[in-house]
């Protein structure tokens, strides 16, 4: 970039706090088949070219798979298999014979399969992502362009993309990736969750960022969601000052979570694997508030045996010693289908047979998991608490509680993600020992807004007063029954919302371990009475922005440094 480069500011949604300055690396968007492509005249020759390119794509994916992590490898291998599929080549040949241009033929043939698989749902719909990835790579090669995706980062950089797919983020590390900016996505999108797990500052919904040239110096503030292009020395100085103030505010705190006047609010970690458990256990957290057990099941052709599950759970429980571990039983369904327990396509998977609903149908899967959890509990004597996802009714809660208790597991709880369960939490808590609010799904269902759809981000702001009202209802039920209610959604990791949640009566907050220090500091700066006043002020707001600004006005000024 030249010295007279444009100096501008972008605003998006900050989804992972922290600041960074570095050169911008744009994730190459996938090229489209040109509208004015020349028709194919020699179908046989074109067919040969396409087959050669598909083989190159397959070989490239295989080479990346060989170096990829355990999580990324099956995704890349599935892509290679699609690229070599004889049916794909035959479909493309048909298009070439009808005279379509070469990249158009690839695009149309892939879309025909995609349309068919999307209508089938479940496992088939997942293959659509692999197929479109193969299409993008093949079309780029046919046009003589580099394959799309994250380039190899040679120096510490800030990554910008329209959106990042799981396969693309799987290879990122904190050494070379200083920050992440995307044009779409929301606070609970894959990118947001991954960035906060890795502690990389991130901003989503930064519309227009892709127009900034490769290599331009940018400054990112993942707390407030601001991006400065070609920052002045004064601006980078202010950012450094903010970074220093944030570090100072976070320094020194390692104790249990509590308000200034000593009301305890347990600070817990969200984990998904035994590796996460080992890392989180080294942090000053009071245990695990959400162990997502899906990772043991997804990508598996057959159900993991009770022995294998027992070994993994034992490893996780041992890592935490006498600290609590809240385990969520398998939360899968039509959008995260299990290869060995697929119930077939559904029109509306988010409202379909997922969570406990699937568990009640495929009881052998749930029972095997509970048996393994009970065995790991007996082997370790850990403070294990087992909860079910997606509980909506008392009948589901009693069904689950009976099964868990029959195996001698000490504590049983439910996830409150369905508004019905929050509204009637008193009745549900009568049957179990605790509840944990999954605020991401609870908000999606309260607002009737798909949490994966970035355009709906305004409806999915966790400061939304309607969500706070639903949380308050759930907490009232908990207080009436004398049972603890925690939060394990992304809202728990927001230092301002954590105060509101504490004020509403939430007794534990579970989050990505990297977010714990800011929440601990925020709680320690305010009394329980102040938290209750902030909760009332937030609920009095007419929208999310008003709710947040009311709380920020009442809070200690240091709170602003924590974002």
């Amino acid at each position: 970039m030249t010295g007279d480069a444009l100096h501008t500011t972008f605003h998006g949604i900050g989804v992972s706090a922290g600041t960074a300055v570095g050169p911008l690396v744009i994730v190459t968007p996938a090229p489209k088949a040109p509208d004015d492509e020349a028709p194919t005249t020699d179908a046989a020759a074109a067919s040969g070219v396409v087959r050669g390119v598909l083989e190159d794509v397959a070989a490239g994916l295989e080479a990346r798979a060989a170096k990829a992590s355990e999580h990324a490898r099956p995704i890349l291998e599935a892509g290679a298999m699609m690229a070599r599929d004889p049916g794909l080549a035959v479909g493309i040949d048909t298009q070439l014979q009808s005279g379509k241009g070469i990249t158009t033929a690839v695009t149309v043939a892939v879309e025909e399969y995609c349309a068919m698989f999307e209508s089938l749902g479940g496992y088939m719909a997942e293959r659509v992502t692999d197929l479109r990835d193969v299409r993008d790579r093949a079309v780029a090669r046919l046009l003589g362009k580099p394959e799309p995706g994250v380039p190899a980062l040679t120096e510490p950089s800030i990554l910008a993309a329209h959106d990042l797919a799981p396969a693309e983020t799987a290879t990122l590390t904190t050494e070379t990736c200083l920050g992440i900016i995307t044009e779409i996505g929301g606070p609970t999108s894959h990118t947001a969750i991954l960035a906060s797990q890795l502690g990389i500052p991130a901003v989503v919904q930064a519309v227009g960022i892709m127009a900034i040239p490769f290599g331009t110096l940018v400054a990112i503030d993942g707390g407030v969601g601001e991006i400065t292009v070609n920052p002045t020395a004064e601006e980078t100085g202010l950012l450094a000052e903010r970074k220093r103030r944030r570090a100072a505010a976070l320094a020194g705190g390692t104790g249990n979570g509590a308000t200034k006047d000593g009301y305890p609010v347990a600070l817990l970690a969200n984990i998904g694997t035994a590796d996460d458990a080992r890392k989180a256990a080294k942090q000053p957290v009071e245990g695990v508030g959400l162990f997502r057990t899906e990772f043991l099941f997804l990508d598996r052709e057959t159900m993991p045996t009770v022995e294998e599950q027992t070994a993994t759970y034992t490893e996780v429980f041992e890592a935490f010693g006498d600290r609590r571990i809240v385990v969520r039983t398998l939360d899968a369904g039509a959008d995260k289908p299990l290869k060995f327990a697929d119930l077939g396509p559904e029109d509306n998977p988010a409202l379909g047979r997922r969570g406990i609903r699937l568990g009640m149908i495929r009881t052998e899967v749930l029972d095997a998991q509970l048996e393994a959890l009970a065995a790991a509990y007996k082997a370790t004597g850990a403070d294990v608490r087992v909860m079910a996802p997606m509980i909506a009714t008392q009948a589901e809660a009693t069904w689950f509680a009976a099964r868990v208790r029959a195996l001698g597991l000490p504590k049983v709880g439910v996830m409150i993600e369905v508004p019905a369960a929050a509204i009637r939490s008193r009745g549900i808590l009568f049957h179990v020992d605790f509840a944990s609010l999954g605020t991401n799904d609870l908000q999606q269902y309260t607002m009737a807004a798909d949490r994966m759809q970035g355009e709906l981000a305004d409806l999915l702001n966790p400061w939304e007063p309607a969500l706070l009202d639903v949380v308050a209802l759930a907490c009232e039920g908990g207080q009436a029954m004398g049972k603890p209610v925690g939060v394990c959604g992304e809202a728990a990791g927001d230092p301002g919302l954590a105060l509101v949640l504490a004020g509403l009566g939430v007794s534990s907050l579970s989050m990505a371990p990297g977010k714990v220090p800011a929440v601990r500091t925020a709680l320690g700066l305010h009394t329980m009475t102040q938290c209750q006043q902030m909760a009332a002020a937030a609920r009095a707001g007419t929208n999310a922005a008003e709710a947040k600004s009311a709380v920020m006005k009442m809070a200690d000024p240091v709170l602003a440094d924590l974002f």
Partner: protein, 89 residues
């Protein structure tokens, strides 16, 4: 040309994992094996895309065909595979 008819035993039909196992087995024969539903056009049994798109359901009869050395034995082994409930295994 060798042909065989077999009813799909897999409870989810020829879908997902069962389809993947069948395609792997068909590819391993090294022969150009095809699969067709009753009254339908035969498709390449070595293509996971085409086999999944076929959408053969539990209890539906499919026709397998192959040519070349060992075609009879190859089809017998594929028939045996489709006669098992692959999803339950």
């Amino acid at each position: 040309m060798a042909t065989r008819q077999v009813s799909i035993a897999s409870s989810v039909g020829l879908h997902a994992r069962p389809a993947s196992l069948f395609v792997q087995a068909a590819t391993a024969t090294g022969l150009p094996v095809t699969i067709a539903k009753e009254g339908g056009n035969p498709v390449d049994a070595r293509s996971i895309l085409m086999v999944m798109a076929l959408g053969a359901k539990n209890g539906e009869t499919v026709t397998l065909s192959a040519e070349g050395d060992g075609a009879e034995e190859a089809l017998d082994s594929l028939v045996a595979l489709l006669s098992r409930d692959l999803d339950a295994e």
